[in-house]
């Protein structure tokens, strides 16, 4: 595990003095699909090392926000500043190579592959041996494979999924699939980990396990986490700061206690008579 920690502990980029701890800042981002405005003029930031929750009722634009951050959607207006650099339009794989990893709301694992291969796939960006070496297998390609296998085994140990190493993920129960998906994202050794409803459809015990993993990832590896979740108990316990969206607009931003007390948030969740 030490290897992963030390890799992540390296300083990244040269942040501008005013934004020393800022990892990501979203400024006045708007995104619309035809006439539908998914996100309207939203600004918030994510600081290095924090757990940032994004919450809001269904259809509030949370997942769209994550899609903007990792390059699936290109916002019509606004800018995204990543590690102090204003980001141009980028493709998802560029975001991936810059250290943004992501899990999905409905599990998006590679169903035909084993748990091991799924997590190994997270290391694709870090493996470089070309086609000819791969054909030969013996020699550098195998060495590289084994080197990365060691790291993957660390993650398997960390997530306690040793027993399902060689099982095709399509056969696994839902809770374990979510865990494998987290493992796959961790294998990328990301700086920013985007979790889209990591606890959806889990029972209490699985939620507790998953919460523990999220806190451990944040504290042991120092990974910054942006999290979408509907379970308010989990959100309030885990997150350092919470941003609340409703109908594509930001209605609150701050520490959990502050957000909980906000009248706009209460109105958005409970509904209000006009």
């Amino acid at each position: 595990m030490n290897a992963i920690v030390s890799n992540l502990a390296q300083p990244v980029g040269q942040p501008k003095t005013a934004e020393r701890d800022l990892l990501l800042r979203v400024d006045n981002v708007s995104l619309s699909f035809g006439g539908v405005k998914a996100i309207t003029n939203i600004s918030f930031d994510i600081q290095k090392g924090e757990i940032r929750a994004i919450i809001g009722p269904n259809g509030a634009g949370k997942t769209s926000m994550l899609n903007v951050i990792n390059g699936f959607y290109h916002p019509q207006e606004g800018t995204i500043t990543w590690r102090g650099e204003v980001r141009r339009k980028m493709k998802p794989y560029e975001a991936a190579s810059q250290g943004i990893a992501r899990t999905f709301q409905n599990v998006a694992l590679f169903k035909g592959m084993t748990t091991l291969d799924n997590i190994m796939s997270g290391r694709s960006l870090k493996m470089h041996r070309n086609f000819l070496w791969q054909m030969a297998w013996f020699g550098p390609a195998r060495q590289e494979e084994i080197e990365h296998r060691r790291k993957v085994e660390d993650i398997i140990d960390f997530l306690e999924i040793q027993a399902i190493r060689k099982t095709p993920v399509g056969k696994l129960p839902y809770g374990l699939q979510k865990r494998v998906e987290l493992g796959r994202a961790l294998a990328m050794e990301p700086e920013l980990l985007l979790l889209d409803e990591p606890m959806a459809g889990m029972n209490l015990e699985e939620k507790e396990d998953m919460s523990r993993f999220i806190v451990d990832v944040n504290q042991e590896f120092g990974t910054t986490i942006a999290l979408i979740e509907h379970d308010m108990g989990v959100v309030m316990d885990l997150s350092d700061r919470v941003v609340v969206l409703d109908y594509g607009k930001k209605i609150a931003d701050g520490p959990p206690e502050e957000v909980q007390a906000s009248q706009a948030v209460i109105d958005a969740y409970l509904g209000v008579s006009h």
């Binding site: 990792n70 694992l109 590679f110 796939s121 694709s124 960006l125 086609f131 791969q134």
Partner: protein
Amino acid sequence: MFYREAGQFKTSYEADQALFPIRQDRIGLAVILLIAFVGIPLTANDFVLTSIMIPFLVFSLSAIGLNILTGFAGQLSLGTGAFMGVGAYAAYKLTSLFPDVNVIVMVLCSGFFSAAIGAVFGLPSLRIKGLYLAVTTLAAQFFLEWCFIRIPWLYNYNASGAIEIPSRDMFGILVTGPEATPLTRYFIVLAITSVIALLMANVLRGRIGRSWMMIRDMDIAAELMGIRPLQTKLLAFAVSSFICGVAGAMMVFFWLSAAEPSSYSIKLSFQILFMVILGGLGSLSGAFMGAAFIWILPVVLKFVPGMLGFDIEAATVEHLTFMIVGALIIFFLIVEPHGFARLWQIGKQKLRVWPFPY
């Protein structure tokens, strides 16, 4: 009882990542290779070699090629026949332009031509998926077939419109053309097929193979893990077409000795596709099993009535063969839609716990 890995502990990742981690599998493979390289050459007659084994190996190789594209990278293609044709015509042109160069080098080089053309016709795959992509590869099939007919330069302005393979020798042994002995041709085809199969097995278990499967299983997530969809898909098209091209070249150089454009028609594409589907998408051994089923079974069936002493007309036997093979295809697809490779896997799984399944 006999097929069990109990007691075979793996103590290193090297051992765990071996192609055949279980000892019994390694013995099985050794036996198969022994039969292929020693047993068959010693016992088989010319008919078995030219009508069964050589075409079986050629089709197996092209099924591996298509399997890489369709089974591993998830891109459906109906252009296999045309890509095989490109290999055949390229090898033919190369060997007539440079008659002194070793013909096997030419056969392997022809793969690069089909790889380039395959990559070009793979370009739509970035935008189009599934059946629609199959239709665009159909364009490759028709366009290339048209080229084989209409561009006389490709067949050296031969009056018959067909390519006829000249006799070429290697270390003093005749290897191509009608005069070459079936045994020589069999050994060459067997060697090329097994080497390419081994190299592909290596690619498929490494990073590149994984990236193809990532694209197949969930392309959005793959993109997010840093896979570039265009490069990955085009590489799959190129590698697949390379193998199909080599298979196509072998088909005419070491089996048919002469080929017309119609040898590489859509019928061939479908034949290879059925081999891949029946054998099992995403399995190298499945490609061999599928090829054996589609090619060897009908040939063998034709001789069954004669051996059993029935006196049936040849045409009737032909019809019966068609019916039996058709029924068997339906039967196997109902029993196991994932093909022989999966059946084989299930069988092995059962064998591991036999005779105490609980």
